[in-house]
Symmetry: C2
Subunit: 365 residues, 2 copies
């Protein structure tokens, strides 16, 4: 992107300038001349494309038939947050979906993957999911990640070039550089409904989130999630029932019903109980928190290698989270060679509604 295009985008409110230590960069808050929202513009004008949304299919059999013509690859969809990782001059950065340098992810990269890949592939951009119980962003975690965080690469780009590397090239680079990657389940055709049905049921029973299907010869992609991932999402977020858009919950209930009916799980008492519990356990906890502490919120904890990155993260939270984010006293705190950041995100509407209800006040509805 040339300098004038960027200046125009900044003037029209479609881009924002930011800096992270000595890196000055811009991120697109809207699409600009073919570059999607979330794209990052580096100081030399090189554009790192925003990671595109992947469309969802709600019916496995009909979705495969309607969306794919030729072969496609099936990969695991991980329930984490998306980063793009790249080297610029001598430093390696992780950018969030929105195009910010993520101080947390950037800090932890040396723990999560071999960075030597950028020595032989300096223009590589790794698209990865970071997941685990100690992210500063997510309430839930895949069941197989017991502590801290892990990283899973699932796509690759070249800086300044649109599109992803082909599947075979990506897999070669995974292997050559020992990169941590999402599970790749193989190559399928639209008629392989039964194999994919068996696969998604296996993932459902493991507690995995689902599949991303990627056409081999064109840009077609689709995601398809397990029934249980919807219950999990509801469980980890029911404590903030009134603070999330209601569609968060209704969309997941619809997806769950579509999964259940497609895979013959109607009337399963364990599933019914787990769904009821997903709502009630979080809500009961919210009521108890409101009684005991006078507020409802979620406590996050994550750790940083470098104190200055912890401080960058805390400044970012203070700027974007406002009053709702309350750092624990003494944060960041040194522990086992890391800097631990602990904070609570307060759910305003849950806090207010429950406080009124428990006070004995009346309400017209």
């Amino acid at each position: 992107m040339d300098r004038q295009q960027l200046i125009d985008a900044l003037n029209r409110g479609r881009a924002e300038r930011h800096c992270f230590e000595d890196l000055d960069y811009a991120r697109l808050t809207e699409a600009v001349s073919g570059h999607p929202r979330g794209s990052v513009i580096l100081p030399d004008g090189v554009v790192i494309p925003g990671y595109p949304s992947i469309a969802r299919i709600h019916s496995l059999s009909a979705g495969l038939r309607e969306q794919f013509q030729g072969h496609f690859w099936a990969e695991e969809k991980i329930d984490g947050y998306n980063v793009r990782i790249l080297r610029h001059r001598d430093r390696i950065y992780a950018f969030s979906r929105g195009g910010f340098v993520c101080a947390f992810s950037t800090d932890r990269l040396p723990d999560l993957m071999p960075l030597s890949v950028f020595e032989t592939e300096p223009d590589l951009v790794l698209c990865a999911e970071i997941a685990g119980p100690e992210t500063p962003y997510l309430e839930g975690s895949p069941p197989h990640i017991e502590h801290d965080v892990q990283l899973f690469v699932f796509d690759m780009m070249r800086a300044g070039r649109p599109g992803f590397l082909a599947q075979q090239e990506k897999m070669r680079l995974f292997e050559r550089h020992g990169l941590p990657a999402t599970r790749i389940f193989g190559r399928f055709r639209p008629a392989d409904t039964e194999a994919l049905r068996a696969l998604i049921l296996q993932l459902d029973s493991e507690g995995a989130e689902g599949l991303v299907l990627k056409a081999e010869l064109d840009a077609t992609r689709a995601k398809y999630v397990t029934g249980r991932s919807n219950v999990t999402d509801i469980r980890v977020c029911s404590e903030q029932l009134l603070d999330l858009p209601p569609e968060y919950f209704t969309n997941r209930l619809m997806r769950l019903a579509l999964f259940v009916t497609e895979h013959g799980q109607q009337g399963d008492p364990d599933l019914e109980r787990s769904l009821g519990r997903a709502f009630l356990a979080g809500l009961d906890q919210a009521v108890e928190r409101s009684r005991d502490r006078g507020r409802v919120g979620h406590r996050y904890r994550c750790r940083f290698r470098e104190r200055r990155n912890a401080l960058h993260f805390m400044a970012h939270m203070a700027a974007t989270g406002g009053e709702r984010v309350r750092m624990a006293p003494g944060t960041p705190r040194a522990e086992d060679g890391y800097w631990v950041v602990a904070f609570e995100r307060v759910f305003d509407r849950m806090t207010g509604t429950l406080s009124t209800a428990l006070s004995g006040a009346i309400q017209f509805d």
Copy 2:
């Protein structure tokens, strides 16, 4: 209300004129000079006040303490729809909450209560709930009403006068005229928390909706519902998840959690399962209806004594329900001395969303 006030209200869009056979009346669509919305103005200018909203408490113990000073009566809250019943000239009418003559309720009154009460009490206005599996308005029904509909009087007014009759006078009239009334559980004080707790738990186990508490000496009133009534509401409406305001569901989940925590029912596996089933059974059925019939909707059936009332009702549905209401072919149909009206109310958003999802289409979210 004098003629000029009514004309002003009509001109300002705060009242509407309607007729039902030879009765010309007006209803207030907004409050006008102290008369609440839903008030009915009869041809002689007599005002039948709109039935007021009753505020809700979410905590039994704190709510009693905060809302009531002296004695109050506890009555059963019935899960039906509200009517005001009165005689005008020689006919008896039932008006809906909004102030329309309800053709269905008006038609069925002779089956539901002794109308002779209006011979000795011509200016009496009975406030009643009509409930049962065969109303044209409701998807659910109290468990003890096995077929058709029943009527329960719970308040009385005098035409043209604001306020309700005192409890003792109301109870005397119930008895003297053999009127079907809601259950009255007795007279309590704010300190009677334990008795009321036992009562609401008894109602919860019966599947009743809850309590209305009415102060003896002033106009203070409050309602308090059982935990299970929230699960029931979700169960009967989950098939229309996307067609109701999302607050329908979130409010009930909040109330359920407040009930569960106040009454020590956390972690009850039967309750958890019933909540999960409440969502899933309706949603699974919606998916199956979408597959089998190409649309999602609820089928209603009710019966009328008089064919012309059935036709009035059908005309009202056509005027207010539009395309979404589909009368069954041959309606009204004569059966066992009644005229049966059967129709389906189609849920547009459920129909559209499920049809897209089942087609295999992709969706960005």
